[in-house]
Every structure is written in C-alpha cells, then in structure tokens.
C-alpha cells in the first residue's frame, strides 16, 4: 500500500505536471501554461470571462461524483456561462485544491474529465493555466473565456415587451438526478441513471447559445427556471409569463421517477437547478434557432407568472412555495 502515489509523495509540481499532461492544445491559445501567464487570442477587441467554484460538501459529494465527473462538471458549468453571452468558448484556467493524501490516479481522472468535457462541448478550447494546492476539502475554481466573434453580447437586460420566452436544453433533469442520489434508493438510481448522469455531468446546449444571434436577452439556467426567469424579468424591467402546457414535455420524461420516489416532476422543472440550459427572449417574428422551444411570452409589468399565477423567486429548495401555489399535480 505504501507505493500508492499521492500529491504528498510526488509533490505538487510533479502532480500538476502529470495532470496537465492529459490536456490537449486548443486553437485559440497563443501561449499555453508554463510561463507567468498564458496568452489567448480574441477575434476582436474584447473577451468574455466567467468564474465559478465548486466546494466539496456544498456543491458535490466525493461519494457521489467521481474525479472524472467533477472535471467534466467544472468545465461544463463554466462554458455554459460563456455561451449564455453568445460567445464561443476559447480557453479556461483551473485551480484545484485537494487533500495531501489524494492519489495521483484521482488527479489523472479529474484531468480526463476536464478534457472529455472540452472535447464534447468546446473542442477548440484549451486549459491554459492552472494551480494545484493542498487543502482540507476538494475545491475546484474555474474561470472560462469566450470570444464574441464580433457579435453583440446577450445579457439579461434586453428582453422587450412582445418578445417570446424560450428554452434550449433540459429542465428538471439535474434536480431529478439529485433527488435520486438523496433518495439512496439504489434500484431507482440504477434504473434512472440517465438523470443522475445529467446531475453529475451536465450537457449544456452550447451550440444553441452561439446560434441565438436574434435573442434580445439570454442566460444560463443554473438556479432553476423560476429564479433565473425572475433575474431576466428584473434586469429587463418586464413581466414573463410561462405557459404551463409548454412544460408538459419536460415533466413527462420525469413522471415515472417522480412517482417512484414520491416527488413532483413539475417541482423539478420549475424550481430545479443545475441543468445549465439556456433561457432567452426573442422578437415574436424571429425564427427560433435549432434547440430552442417556446415556453412563454414577455409583457409589460414585473415578475414571473405560470399560467397567470405569480411564481415565487425561489431556487431548488422551494418546495413550500410550490405547495402554496398549488402547482403540484
């Protein structure tokens, strides 16, 4: 047992070298990792940047997520924020903190997860810098960069009265996966592992974000449809109306598992976070880009409504709000 290589036995520099060696070069990198700084190309006079951190115990559990899963999710969630601006992901930097006794094979699997997510979601991007440090718990802090390629950025504040409201990607599946993990029902977790996979390795609709050139506002749904729709409503100074029937398809695929573990698929779809789908508004005469589906409309006023009833500005943990609104089936 004493010959298992750990961060402590190899040292941080060698451990980092072995991890970085798993990563492939990208198309936007002018100077990669290894100097004081990296240099990343932009096609014009600006770049898009987003940062997010995942902390063991708060954002993930080591007994639920493998090192590969964590690497994947760290890339996917950050790239999602970049594409939600309408930008093409170009590069990332990754700071990883792990306990000293972490095995090198864990780090290698983490790097494999980083690279796999890049290969699928942003094949031209590269991890251009990183940092490995020891800490009491695992922390992953990622900063991602994107290139607008001359396009206007899509912010939360551009929704206009008369626009339509649309979603690209899944709704409620990541919350369903989390509920399955919390249920500790091994048979259910195994039977519905596709939803657990969405929770552990989200697959944001990257292409849809870049295609949404006509969107008047756009954002990444990380905290749930209700909370994030409220953010667009507030930033744009408008009212958003969501059509309950338009959510039927999102609920239908989750109904079986919801019944099985005694929860509500609508709860997951409306309040569940971490799908990292895109919520956007488009002019009513726009042709929705591939991947987007209409779920509602924009009007004068404020707040978010579901079939005319005000929808609480709550994220994933708002079961009480759902009960009050009697939205549950």
């Amino acid at each position: 047992m004493s010959n298992i290589e750990t961060v402590s036995s190899l040292g941080e520099i060698e451990a980092l070298r072995r991890t970085v060696s798993k990563l492939k070069p990208g198309k936007h990198t002018i100077l990669g990792s290894g100097d004081d700084s990296a240099i990343v190309a932009t096609s014009n006079d600006r770049f898009v940047v987003s940062t997010d951190t995942m902390v063991e115990g708060n954002d993930f559990r080591i007994d639920w997520s493998s090192a590969f899963d964590l690497g994947w999710k760290a890339v996917a969630t950050n790239i999602s924020d970049v594409t939600a601006m309408g930008a093409k992901p170009t590069a990332l930097v990754v700071a990883l903190m792990v306990p000293k006794n972490t095995e090198i094979t864990w780090l290698e699997e983490f790097a494999n997860g980083l690279q796999a997510a890049i290969d699928v979601l942003a094949p031209d991007a590269e991890i251009v810098g990183g940092d490995l440090a020891s800490a009491n718990q695992v922390v992953v802090s990622v900063t991602a960069f994107g290139d607008l390629e001359g396009r206007e950025a899509k912010t939360r504040s551009g929704a206009k009265v008369g626009d339509i409201l649309a979603v690209a990607g899944t709704l409620g599946q990541a919350a369903c996966g989390l509920a399955l993990l919390f249920s500790e029902d091994r048979d259910a977790i195994s039977a519905y592992d596709n939803w657990v996979d969405v929770q552990k390795r989200p697959n944001p609709p990257i292409g849809a974000g870049i295609l949404a050139v006509e969107a008047t506002s756009m954002m990444d749904i990380s905290d749930g449809l209700a909370m994030d729709a409220n953010r667009i409503a507030t930033a744009s100074g408008v009212r958003l109306d969501i059509d309950r029937q338009a959510l039927d398809g999102y609920c239908a695929v989750l109904d079986d598992v919801a019944s099985r573990i005694g929860q509500s698929s609508l709860d997951w779809v409306v309040f569940g976070g971490e799908d990292h789908s895109l919520l956007a508004t488009f002019p009513s005469d726009a042709k929705l880009p591939r991947g987007f589906k209409k779920i509602g409309s924009v009007s004068a006023g404020e707040g978010v409504y579901l079939d005319g009833k005000p929808l609480a500005n709550n994220g994933w943990d708002s079961i009480s709000a759902l009960a009050e609104l009697n939205l549950d089936k």
Copy 2:
C-alpha cells in the same frame, strides 16, 4: 453577541453584494459583474491571463494576516504575473471561500484590501467577477488579465548569450518578514515592521514590467532568485551568472534584523520568495528601464552561478543548500 452579521446569517448573495459594493469601476470593463459573464476590453487581438490560489495554513495564517492584507496580497501577486509578461493589468476575477461563521466586517475589509491594491498597483483595473462560497478554511483564488497593447510578450525563454541579468524590486524582504513572523519575537516584529509589511502586502514593481520593452526574457520572482533564475536558464537554454557584490545592497538593509534573529540576509536574498520582483534579461547595449538594476550576465551553458559557484535550484526552504555552498557570512 448574537447580532454580529456573518456569511451564514446574511446568506451568500447578500454577503457577496456587500463585498462587491466596495469595489470601483475600471477603464477596461465593457460589462462588469452581475450577468453570466463579464466582458473586458483588449487593445488588440489577444489577452494575458494568470491564476493563483492562496490557501489558509499553507500560504497564509489568519493570525498573521488581516482580511485587508489577504485582499491586497491576492491582487498584488496575480497582477505581478501579468506585468511580468510586459502587459498592463486590466481586470481580475476573485473566488473567495470562507467558513460560514465569518463576519461580514471581515469580508468588507478583504474587499477594501482588494481595492487598495488595485488603486496603488493597477488603478485602471477592476474586479469584474467573483464568487463567494463557504468552506472549512479560507481560500482565495484569483485570475488576473492584462493587455499587451501591441507589445511582444516577455516569456522566460528569450534570454540570449551576452545579455545582462537585472532585477526590479526588492529581494529577500518578504522572506525576512516571514522569518520575523516565525520568530514570534514581538519586539523584533515591531521594530522591523516594514519587512513584515512586504511579506503581508507585497508591492511589486508594476511600472518596471511595462517599461521593459527591450527585455529578452522576464519573470516574476515568486519562489526566490535562485529557483526562478534557474527557470529562465532552463527555458532559454543559457547559463546565468549572478555577481555576489551586486547583491550587497539588497543584503545590507536586512543585516540588522538577520543578526537580531540569528539568520542570514544572503540566504533571504538568494533563496527567499514572495517579493514578487521582476527578473529580466536585456541586450548588453540596452538602457535599463527605471527600476531595474544589473545583477549578472547571460552566457552559453546551463544553470545558475553565484560568483562562479553553482547555485542550487532551490526555493526558500533551502538552508542546507546554502550551508553546503558556504555562501553564508
């Protein structure tokens, strides 16, 4: 006591809002924090990026460094890596992890430290994004951006035979400050608090980096002159000779305190890290920019030599290497 506001009592969103409200806008920000991503201007088709993380217990101690100190140091060390490329700092993102019971006044002081360092070191820059999370120990992860403004980047690999070797900034002062803190000699710490301040709030020679347009190679001395000079020698495929006499001035200001606590000023100057000064090579006919001082020369070969004796590739903790070389006075 129960009305002390903490991260836990206010919630992370309100705690982050109070912290961010301390920060000023910058001149390179096209879109600041508050959307999915920020947008930063570049004067041409590329940007410089560097990331670094500080972990409580490894990189700092809460009983030695105030929240203000940590905020300052997080900005200073990252900006130093950007200017070591010859770039002008334009923006930063900051991820902060703190225990849940951390008081809001601590966060506010951290933000004051971030802003104070920006005001002094990079007044046109802005913190364009951030993340606040709870964790078991304090972790600060910063990513800094810079604009080359059309200049060539200064890497570690461009040193040429015949160049001169030069330093901008202090050498050994941060190590002296750290030795004072470890000495727990309260009178000495108080008497020599200027060196303790360099350790806690480093003041890198930002302007010198941007002025070093003729430098053939450049880097930030974060791990000590010996180790970082070896990095330039290796990356450039050259030998670096350091002139012992050229280090006299750096040692002289530290001699008193070195005697007082029984350590060696030369040890600090040669092997001490965290001054975040600049080490660069220039053509022999170049006029050294303001702030740079010649300390040696570049020749064919490999490795780093001090008055002709090979200098071990060691950082701060290499007292044994010094003893072997008999460099100590």
